[in-house]
């Protein structure tokens, strides 16, 4: 330890009896965090400035005349810090009691209940019985516009929301009005947070239930939600998110911290567009035969029949329509299968694109991208070309009248004529939702959405990012890589991939862009492939 403390860029201090070595300029709160000690805090947020005003993170620093705010007090060599000393604990208990003087304690009807920092801290360290007998002051609630609702009575005045709008969104639409215990958060103008494209983040950073989402209002209790690390499917930025699901339905999307991609944030567009994941009308079982003569089949029957047809048509021209919503594992395995069967003459995808990007000024890495799908770059790496216009229509003329093998994955072909694929010698449709343009398909195979499978996307920065299965697939829908991998193994020999990681490993062996990567190496933070650095 003596060696490391001699280095100019680190300091060594003692917190609660544990020695810790941290970089210079680390706050006591962070230094404690590295030891697994959580110092309670409200106003401090790692993505914002620290006003040190909630006063609950005060800790005892030996030699200091009074308790010090750990969020803005920088670690110094030789410092001895106590977060659990009698004076620090007594102060925290006092501050918590102060918070409850006016707090309505409406936890039973509060959306934040279960993940509320006030609730947590009071349960941990608060007084058993409050002493406040006076009537509480009442503000009621205020519609801030956008998706945001404000319950002033629950507010702890940490001002994280004000600072987010000011420092990160660079759009100071929130402020503190009045002072003392009459102080509340308010918007400057009637329009409030309407059309502010990142305002939903203020709900995430609110440590209590003061700012809540209208969309999520009274929809689910926090403890009933399953959290699954995932990637936002709504643009090619690929913000790291958590899927919050209950009863196999996505209830909301929340940003998951990744300083290389989205920081602590995500955009409102991405956040709001999750209902399609829950949509009914899914294809639930494989179908064999063209429309009219189609019958449901189990997977073994369907894939057996399909294999026979594939073997018959060996050497044929293959046209593939993929989707930028599909994983690398699905698209890559699809392309490999196409090449195993015949000659891939065309592989395309269509993607909705907006006119403009929407950057987050205070965190410039995060941009709501023009491409409104998560895996445009992955599709490119895997040999798919962009087709059609910016509203994801057209561009499939050659495929529509192709007389060889036609495989469609994911694209719902909503704009395509009824005779799409009618001339194909073999037309396979792998999709999530039934589509009129799948009527001519010889095989309709139900596959899962990103929320129902493991896999990876490549975002606009070239970063390969993993997402995990958060929902059960409907009926007998299977991940596309599993279906396609089984077909490929049957045609070429070898073992079919048993997991998305296996499917990815096969891609890593073939595609230079994925060389050296694996699901394990990608982890939850994502990884940029080596060639991208070159």
């Amino acid at each position: 330890m003596a060696d490391s403390s001699r280095r100019a860029d680190t300091v060594t201090l003692t917190i609660d009896g544990h020695e810790v070595n941290v970089p210079k300029g680390t706050s006591l709160l962070h230094a404690a965090e590295t030891l697994g000690i959580e110092v309670p805090h409200y106003c401090y947020h790692p993505g914002l400035s620290a006003p040190a005003q909630c006063r609950i993170c005060l800790v005892e620093v030996e030699g200091a005349p009074k308790l010090q705010p750990s969020c803005v007090t920088m670690a110094q060599d030789g410092q001895v810090v106590h977060t659990e000393s009698p004076s620090a604990k007594r102060m925290r208990q006092g501050v918590l009691e102060f918070y409850l003087v006016n707090h309505p304690l409406d936890c039973p009807i509060c959306d934040m209940s279960g993940e509320c920092k006030l609730q947590d801290y009071v349960f941990d360290e608060g007084r058993e019985q409050g002493r406040a007998r006076e009537p509480k002051r009442v503000f009621g609630r205020d519609d801030f516009g956008g998706d945001v609702l404000y319950y002033g009575d629950r507010c702890v005045m940490c001002t994280r929301c004000v600072r987010f709008m000011d420092e990160v969104a660079h759009d100071a639409r929130l402020t503190v009005v009045e002072r003392g215990d009459r102080a509340v958060i308010d918007t400057f103008f009637e329009s409030g947070l309407d059309d502010a494209s990142f305002a939903g983040n203020v709900v995430d950073i609110c440590p209590v239930g003061a700012l809540v989402s209208k969309d999520f209002l009274h929809k689910a209790r926090a403890w009933d939600l399953d959290h699954t690390p995932s990637i936002c499917p709504n643009c090619s930025q690929g913000c790291n998110i958590d899927l919050h699901a209950r009863d196999n339905l996505v209830q909301r999307l929340k940003p998951r911290e990744n300083q290389e991609v989205n920081g602590h944030w995500m955009c409102d567009y991405g956040r709001a567009n999750y209902e399609w994941i829950n949509r009914a009308g899914r294809i639930e079982s494989p179908g064999v035969g063209r429309s009219g003569k189609r019958r449901a089949a189990d997977w073994q029957t369907a894939l057996g029949a399909l294999l026979d047809r594939l073997r018959e048509s060996e050497g044929a021209g293959v046209r593939i329509v993929g989707s930028p919503l599909a994983s690398n594992e699905a698209l890559g395995t699809l392309h490999r299968l196409g090449r195993a069967v015949g000659t891939v003459t065309e592989s395309v995808f269509r993607c909705r694109r907006t006119e403009d990007e929407d950057p987050l000024p205070g965190f410039p890495l995060l941009v709501r991208r023009r491409d409104l799908a998560p895996n445009v770059d992955g599709a490119g790496i895997l040999g798919f070309e962009r087709a059609g216009s910016d509203d994801a229509t057209g561009g499939l003329g050659a495929a529509a009248s192709h007389d060889g093998i036609l495989v469609v994955l994911g694209d719902q072909l909503g704009d395509q004529p009824e005779d799409f694929g009618a001339d194909a010698s073999l037309y396979v449709y792998l999709g999530t939702f039934d589509s009129p343009a799948a009527r001519n398909a010889d095989f309709v195979l139900p596959v899962t959405t990103f929320a129902e499978e493991d896999g990876t996307f490549v975002n606009a920065q070239g970063r390969v990012q993993r997402f995990e299965q958060g929902l059960q697939a409907p009926g007998s829908a299977r991940p596309a890589w599993l279906v396609l991998g089984a077909l490929l193994a049957a045609l070429e020999g070898g073992n079919p991939p048993g997991s998305a990681a296996d499917a990815f490993a096969a891609l890593a062996a073939e595609y230079a862009a994925f060389a050296g990567l694996s699901h394990d190496a990608i982890g939850t933070a994502g990884a940029v492939p080596e060639p991208a650095h070159a």
Binding site: A52, R55, G94, M157, G180, A183
Partner: protein, 430 residues
Amino acid sequence: MAYPYRHDKEVRVLSEGFGDPAARTVEGWKRYGGYQGIARALEIGRDATIDEVKNSGLRGRGGAGFPTGLKWSFMPKDSGRPHYMLCNADESEPGTFKDREIIRWTPHQLIEGCLVGSYAIGASHCYIYLRGEFFETTNVLARALEEAYEKGLVGRDIMGSGVDIDMTLHVGAGAYICGEETGLMNSLEGRRGEPRIKPPFPAAVGAFGMPSTINNVETLAATPHIVRHGAEWYRQWGTEKSPGTKLFCVSGHVNRPGNYELPLGFPMMELIEDVCGGMRDGKALKAVIPGGSSVPIMSADDCRSCTLCYEGVEAAGSLLGCASVIVMDENTDIVKQVRRMAYFYAHESCGQCTPCREGTAWATRILRRIEDGLGTEDDLDTLIEISEQMTGTTICVLSDSLAMPIISSIEKFREDYLALIRRGERVGAA
């Protein structure tokens, strides 16, 4: 003798021109020796000016009593950045009315003080932050400043010295917290009047992010006299630790309330009994708040041997603060008095820090309940504990300022509280 009251025991350094309307002009002020202080400062130079003030032992008159010369010496030398002198004229401590009188009668005294201070710390711009309610005061100062500009005493090349010092008056919007030095800076910059965390201290990062020094009106007003006559001259009054003279704002139940300039170390009872003409209607003294509402209350016994200097009042269990002596006679309802003060602090809390935002308002509500005869003895323990939680836990000392009178009043006048709680009897309610 136009000024309300005068007394022979007074030593008039700052208050010499009080009551003389002629002192409001440059010519008039020069008859009192005006603008000789800055002239001498320009002559002896920056460092010597700071040394003179340092040696005089002048302590900040805004309440904290920090040595002024030392504060000035904290300013960086040759920082290459603009320095700012800030004059705190947001006098809003309940019971205080000295700065207003200095500005109202002798505006040039303040302007000259600002010049000396600005020159000493290398500031070419001085902001005078005036309390929002100071209408007449602001007008007087604005007129005086205009004249000072016309006469070349302020602005470019003051008095032909080659030194530039501009001065701007900024009128607040009426918030007590803007009298806190960093709250004042935020307000001056157009932000919410909320105190800032220290460090960084103003001498490093002050107004507009630049090195700044902030001084009270009375402090700055004293500096030209010190520079002109020398530190030793100033030290002829007062005590070793509290040299010089000080304006005492006496209010309450005395026969002649008002501003009296006395040497520090003056006996408190002599101030009350002699200078102020004794207690009104011959009533007995009950309590004194010696330094504006933010300091512990003193009982009559505490006052007997108390001398009015920083160390003297501290020895008697309170603080000199800004020497605003509030005198209360035997008929005073201490509970009501403390509740009224609590209401003030709850109303003026900026609301940043939790202990202050919630604590001041909660304490006010408890005191109101006790006043209404609905209190319990447990409430007194709760009040003391709330007060302790409000002490030393916040960014500024606003909540400490309420904690002190609450704790001291419960300690010293517990009987008053108990009379209300147990028997519903209001002391002094006639």
